[in-house]
């Protein structure tokens, strides 16, 4: 009988000083990464991470479960922060009533109150958000141009993700409109929401291809920006990439756009989707890409802890990519 193979560890709980170091450093790296709006909101992401710090949580919890593939906390921990935020106003009010009635708050309750007050004061964006904007209307072409921004925290590969899609919809498609508008005001249809959630599962090229199948809709551009993975002492980098104890946050960005002149791959950890396929499949996708008229570029920059940039740059240079590396103080 063959001995049962031990499944690789997928996650591990982190608590106390370890969790504190991880989330505070991660928050600093997010803000050091100079992220444009094609990435998830860095300020919101940093607030979520800081809120997980045991020093901030006032005893509500001092643990988070780290996903070892991405080195970031799982969705469940971030949802817990959101839930805390949702109840913060009630907790603050109840505490105020209790104080007004002359009852003293225990130290534990005071710590908890400080946590809820801080949570109520910070700008914490929703973990999942779909925003649709009308960019312009072209009466001559009989078309309207939209920008859709879809944010989510990836449950399967924990990390913040933003998809930005530029879409054109012909007027004739409005009988059974995928995107609706009234004057300058776009309206999200259920079909649109469902479609976005379906296509926003992988990289921008795949999303472009899938969205391009919608009748009456022409896709101009899809961009995916991500925060993560995070290399840390608890989810370490491959050997030789970082000095011991260092942190590095990956900030990948991929884009499929009709405005690109050529494919460009500047991501040391990803390949353009078409190149990944078998020759048979690739020719099918190449044909679709040619029909849709897009090109793809992939980029990845890094934010790392002090003293880690040199070794990271060396490995990146040796791999032949020109990635930006920011070192957080």
């Amino acid at each position: 009988m063959r001995p049962e193979a031990k499944a690789p560890e997928r996650s591990r709980p982190l608590r106390g000083a370890d969790l504190e170091a991880l989330v505070q450093t991660a928050a600093r790296l997010v803000l050091a990464g100079r992220l444009s709006r094609y990435y998830p909101d860095p300020y919101g992401a940093a607030e979520y991470l800081r809120a997980l710090a045991p020093s901030a949580r006032g005893g509500v919890s001092d643990q988070a479960v780290l996903d070892l593939a991405t080195g970031l906390p799982g969705l469940k921990d971030l949802v817990a922060i959101q839930a805390d935020r949702a109840i913060s106003a009630d907790f603050i009010r109840q505490s105020a009533d209790r104080e007004a009635s002359g009852a003293a708050l225990s130290q534990r309750l005071q710590d908890k109150l400080a946590y809820y007050r801080r949570l109520a004061a910070v700008d914490l964006p929703p973990l999942t958000r779909l925003e649709l904007k009308l960019r312009r209307v072209d009466p001559e072409r009989g078309a309207a141009f939209f920008e859709a921004v879809f944010d989510r925290y990836d449950a399967a590969e924990p990390g913040f993700v933003r998809y930005t899609l530029n879409l054109e919809q012909k007027d004739r498609g409005w009988g059974r409109a995928f995107l609706k508008r009234s004057g300058d005001y776009p309206r999200q249809t259920a079909e649109f929401r469902a479609r976005i959630e379906k296509v926003a599962q992988d990289d921008s090229e795949l999303a472009f291809l899938l969205m391009g199948q919608v009748e009456g809709v022409r896709v101009e551009e899809v961009t995916r920006g991500r925060i993560g993975p995070l290399w840390s002492p608890w989810a370490p980098a491959p050997a030789g990439w970082l000095p011991p104890g260092a942190f590095a946050l990956h900030l990948p960005l991929d884009q499929a756009s009709v405005n690109l002149a050529a494919d460009r791959d500047n991501d040391p950890f990803a390949t353009i989707y078409r190149r990944f396929l078998s020759s048979e499949s690739r020719s099918l996708v190449e044909a679709a890409a040619a029909g849709l008229g897009y090109r793809v570029q992939k980029d990845r920059k890094f934010a790392c802890s002090a003293g880690a940039a040199a070794s990271l740059r060396q490995r990146l240079d040796s791999g032949g990519t020109r990635s930006l590396v920011y070192e957080a103080s």
């Binding site: 100079r34 925003e131 460009r264 920059k301 020109r322």
Partner: protein, 568 residues
């Protein structure tokens, strides 16, 4: 190090003239901050840094963003081509005209440099003037775009330039959706955030949001209230204008645009739509908010009429309330709004004020603070308003009611029990009572009383009369001539025991009780009204008789006192 020059450009002479014209259309040389920041926001930046430095007799002003940057194609086809913009008609962008970048030449810099990168290309552009530029491909990639202007100036000029720069950036960008920071590196100061919350002075009363548009509305007492127009937070126009009486607002909308000259908001269809939203909110939503605000304020004023901020807040809402109460019908529709404060009581409505004015025979009472008089009126069911901006308005809205300050128009001394007096004062009061009884008992009762209460209009009087002790008296009641009491209802006399005159008489009473009582009663008679001149002859004799009786009584009392004193 820059790679060998990729391109050198020179603008054609006709274009040079046009650029010169465009450069001069910017009213302020520092307007370039707004233009560059606008470009940075449109480039999807999350953070923009404005920096100043002073080196070797030159100021270096920089605007750097973390946006998407520019590649060679965008530089050649858009940045350096007038009236051509990648943002044509794009409602998600602020810039429209493709002329913003030339604003950097308005302050006549020695040099302008642009550092930017996109799609794996990195560039540096050097503009010695607006007439030509050098373009270099750079080896190192970067995020976003950085524009640097260099201009020779003295250190003193630099100080003024730095202060003006911060003020300018704040004015144009305080409500920007993107985080903007300012740092004067020469002064060694920290990086300061430029952004301010999207609020109104005195806090907004209503906040409205829909896709692409955010509005804050507040009440204003100014004849021309504040209004501000912004696109993604960048100021398009701020000023004072009476769009809606009593209403100040800020509107931030991606649909609003500035004019080509940048000093006004473009009054196009989108502007009209925005103003229609404000008008709708003012008509439908704001009255509810106003009522809620005024009820809350009226309750607070009623509890604490001395708090200065509360009437000011109420007054801030008055022009808008006037608008709602401007016609009889609109007043009637809102006559149940209990928004008017009452001293020590619940706020009342216009309908209740009408009823109170009727019950008060056309009088509407107000006062600075609660006191005996206002409380007595309250017990009679007559509300007394705290002093404030609502008083005059209510008089007008309630059909021209007569306004009277309660404590000025009415008085209410508190009678004291004899036991509350010291023995000296009690002796004096008893002597007065005896002398008054001996001389015909003009007064039904002679009572000591406390005249001192907040707002008291009788604190300087040494006595007042009333039908019964503890009854409200009116200052406007004419005194009853002292000689005409015969055959009439006698009044009670209440003596202000703290009045200096009575205190002195009290001390005299110990030596000369008769004289002290005589002086007191004589003064009371004199103060108690004159005989009408037409009846003077008729009562002249009576006055002398009364005087004689008082004197006789005084003499008797003093002789008795002297006799008793002699015996002891």
């Amino acid at each position: 190090m820059a790679a060998p020059s990729d391109a050198k450009g020179r603008a054609a002479s006709s274009v040079q003239g046009l650029v010169r014209e465009l450069v001069h259309q910017f009213t302020d040389p520092l307007d370039f901050y707004r233009e560059l920041i606008q470009n940075s926001i449109d480039a999807e930046s999350n953070r923009i840094s404005v920096t100043l430095d002073y080196k070797d007799g030159r100021a270096v002003a920089g605007v750097e963003d973390d946006g998407v940057g520019m590649d060679g194609r965008i530089i050649d086809e858009f940045l350096l081509v007038l009236f051509r913009s990648t943002k044509d008609n794009d409602l998600t962008k602020i810039g429209k005209f493709g002329i913003g970048f030339v604003s950097v030449f308005a302050m006549a810099p020695e040099r302008v440099q642009v550092f930017t990168a996109k799609n794996g290309e990195s560039w540096r552009l050097d503009f010695p003037s607006y007439k030509h530029y050098d373009k270099y491909r750079m080896p190192a990639l970067r995020d976003g775009t950085k524009v640097e202007l260099t201009k020779a100036m003295t250190l003193q000029e630099y100080g003024a330039f730095s202060a003006a720069s911060l003020a300018k950036v704040r004015y144009w960008c305080k409500h920007a959706d993107t985080r903007i920071f300012f740092q004067d590196r020469t002064s060694g100061g920290p990086e300061v955030p430029v952004n301010e919350p999207f609020e109104l002075d005195g806090a907004a009363s209503l906040r409205y949001q829909e896709e692409g548009t955010e509005i804050v509305l507040g009440f204003s007492a100014e004849p021309r209230p504040f209004c501000g127009f912004y696109n993604r937070g960048l100021t398009l126009k701020e000023g004072e204008q009476d769009f809606q009486p009593g209403l100040q607002f800020k509107i931030k909308s991606r649909f609003l645009e500035h004019t080509l000259t940048r000093d006004n908001v473009l009054m196009d269809d989108n502007y009209r739509k925005a103003m229609a939203i404000i008008a709708r909110l003012a008509d439908r939503e704001l009255p509810r908010r106003l009522k809620a605000d005024l009820v809350e304020l009226a309750q607070a004023v009623g509890r604490n009429p001395a708090a200065e901020a509360l009437p000011q807040e109420w007054a801030r809402r008055l022009p808008f309330l006037r608008r709602l109460f401007s016609g009889r019908l609109s007043r009637w529709r809102r006559s149940d709004w209990a928004v008017f404060p009452v001293l020590g009581g619940k706020p009342i409505s216009l309908a209740q004020v009408h009823a109170a004015v009727s019950a008060g025979r056309g009088v509407l009472y107000f006062d600075a603070a609660a006191n005996r008089v206002t409380e007595a009126l309250g017990r009679r069911g007559l509300p007394v308003l705290p002093e404030g901006p609502w008083v005059a308005e209510l008089a007008a809205w309630s059909g021209g009611a007569r306004l009277l300050r309660a404590s000025g128009a009415l008085y209410l001394p508190r009678p004291l029990d004899d036991q509350e007096l010291g023995s000296e004062l009690l002796g004096f009061i008893e002597t007065l009572r005896r002398m008054d009884a001996d001389c015909g008992a003009k007064y039904r009762q002679l009572l000591p009383a406390d005249f001192d209460y907040p707002g008291s209009s009788i604190v300087d009087r040494h006595f007042v009369t009333s039908r019964a002790p503890g009854e409200l008296g009116s200052i406007s009641d004419r005194p009853r001539p002292s000689l005409l009491w015969l055959g009439r209802e006698r009044l009670c006399a209440l003596l202000n025991i703290r009045h200096p005159f009575l205190c002195r008489l009290g001390r005299l009473h110990q030596q000369r009780p008769g004289l002290a009582a005589y002086l007191c009663l004589k003064t009371m008679h004199l103060s108690d009204g004159e005989v009408p001149p037409a009846q003077g002859d008729k009562f002249c004799n009576l006055a002398e008789k009364t005087e004689r009786r008082l004197l006789e009584s005084a003499l008797t009392i003093d002789c008795t006192q002297a006799h008793q004193g002699g015996r002891t």
